[in-house]
Each structure stands twice: as structure tokens, then as C-alpha cells.
């Protein structure tokens, strides 16, 4: 039963990632779309623009939430792919823990980048 909750969470995070990444891509890369929606970010990859967003509580929270949701969705999906490979038994048994470990490390690093910039 626990597995089905994890699977359901995979579907929920999939929908969440879709909306969050759509906002991220539209605001930062698709100027015409974003302009049509009334969002104008001048030179989104310039240092000034990046730091403006990084020091805004709204954008910093947005990125940390996106990071958490995307990490769960990506690692659960990757685990499904990896489980089909013929691993030695010790790795097959440890795969869940390896994924959880990778998730914690990546989330720690990613949120450190966001918080470091936010408090700079």
C-alpha cells in the first residue's frame, strides 16, 4: 500500500513540476509568451537580474519548492528505470536508499545555492 502512495505522489509531483517548470521557462526564456502574459524580465541571465530574483522571497521559495518537487519526480522515475537493470543483489536491495541519499544531497546543495544568494 505504501508503494501506491509513493506512486500517487509521483503523479502529483509530475503535475506540479509541469506547472512550475512552465512558469520558469516562460518567464526566463520565452520572452514573447511572457510578454503576452504581462511579464517582462530584462536579460534574465544577467548577474543583476539573477540576483534580483535570488534575493526575492517569492522567487527563492519558488525555486526551493521546484527543486524539492522535481527531485522527487526525477528520482522516483529514475528508480523505476534502474530497477529493470540486472544489478548485483546488494545494489538492487540498496537502490531505494541510494536514491534517497542522492535526493538529500542534491536538495541540500540546491537549497544552499538559493539560500546563499537570498541572504547575500
Amino acid at each position: 500500500m505504501r508503494q501506491s502512495y509513493f506512486r500517487l505522489l509521483q503523479l502529483i509531483t509530475g503535475v506540479a513540476v509541469f506547472f512550475l517548470i512552465a512558469v520558469h521557462i516562460t518567464a526566463l526564456r520565452l520572452d514573447d509568451f511572457a510578454g503576452g502574459l504581462g511579464v517582462h524580465i530584462e536579460e534574465p541571465t544577467s548577474w543583476g537580474s539573477v540576483m534580483d530574483r535570488a534575493t526575492s522571497a517569492g522567487w527563492a521559495s519558488f525555486y526551493i519548492i521546484l527543486l524539492a518537487v522535481a527531485i522527487y519526480h526525477a528520482l522516483y522515475g529514475l528508480r523505476g528505470v534502474l530497477m529493470e537493470l540486472p544489478w548485483p543483489p546488494v545494489i538492487a536491495r540498496s537502490l531505494n536508499y541510494i536514491m534517497i541519499g542522492i535526493g538529500i544531497v542534491v536538495f541540500g546543495y540546491g537549497s544552499f545555492i538559493a539560500l546563499n544568494a537570498y541572504y547575500s
Binding site: 509530475g14 503535475v15 526564456r29 541571465t45 548577474w47 539573477v50 529514475l78 537493470l85 540546491g110 545555492i113
Partner: protein
Amino acid sequence: MNAMEVKKKPLKNYLGIWGWVWAGRYNVERYLYTLQRVTGLGIILYGILHLTINGFRISGEGLWEDTMSLFENPVFAVGEYLVIAAFIIHALNGLRLILQQLGYTLGAPKPPIYPYSHALQRRRPIVLAMGALGAILLLLVLIDFVV
């Protein structure tokens, strides 16, 4: 030598990774499954690079601006388009799979009257609709990139 004497090589019952790509008469939904994996793995790879490059912010403005100037090369614009294309394909196919898994695309039960239609045929319209929507979005993004 008659036909009975011709020994056919038996098919392997374990296809390994190759079986993800081809194992006989796959239909379009099975290829979409492979595409879902390829795009998912590609997006993970891009995500790792994206996070690594974002980490350059910690070193300050100089390294950040130097790195961003590298991405002004058109080759990176093509790469960026491919990443967005992978995201669109993965998202729309994922949405189809979610609708399917939750039972919204099953349709009403039908009596088995000849000519029979199988479940995949009855769900084919949503594949085509997602494909059409995906093609429109890919074209709009391409226009945004080029114009």
C-alpha cells in the same frame, strides 16, 4: 534439406536494455513509453548541468558572467530548444498516462460486437490530440526562439 531440418535460432527471453527500444511489433504507445524514458533521462541530465552552473553564483559575478557569455553560442540555443522540446513531450505524454492510469480515458464499456476494437484503439484519439498539441507547442517555442 527440407523445411523441418532448418533450425531457427531461438529468440532470447531476456532482451535487456535493447528491449526498451525494440522487441517486435511495438505500437505507437510503446514507442511513446520509450520516448518518455529518453526525454526523462535527458531532462535529468540537463537538470544536473543546470544546478551545477547555478552553483557558479556562489563564486561571484565574474565567473557567472563568463559562463553566461559561453551560452551565447547558437549551438547552446539549439540545445536549449531540445531541452524545452523534451519537457513538452515528457509533460504531455505524462499527462496522457496520468489520465489513463486514473481511468479517465477508459470510456464506457461496450458489448463485444464484431469488428472488435481493443483498448488501445479506443484510447488512440487522446494520443493524437496530445501529439497535435505537442506539435503546436513545439512550433510556438521554435517561433519564439527564432524571432
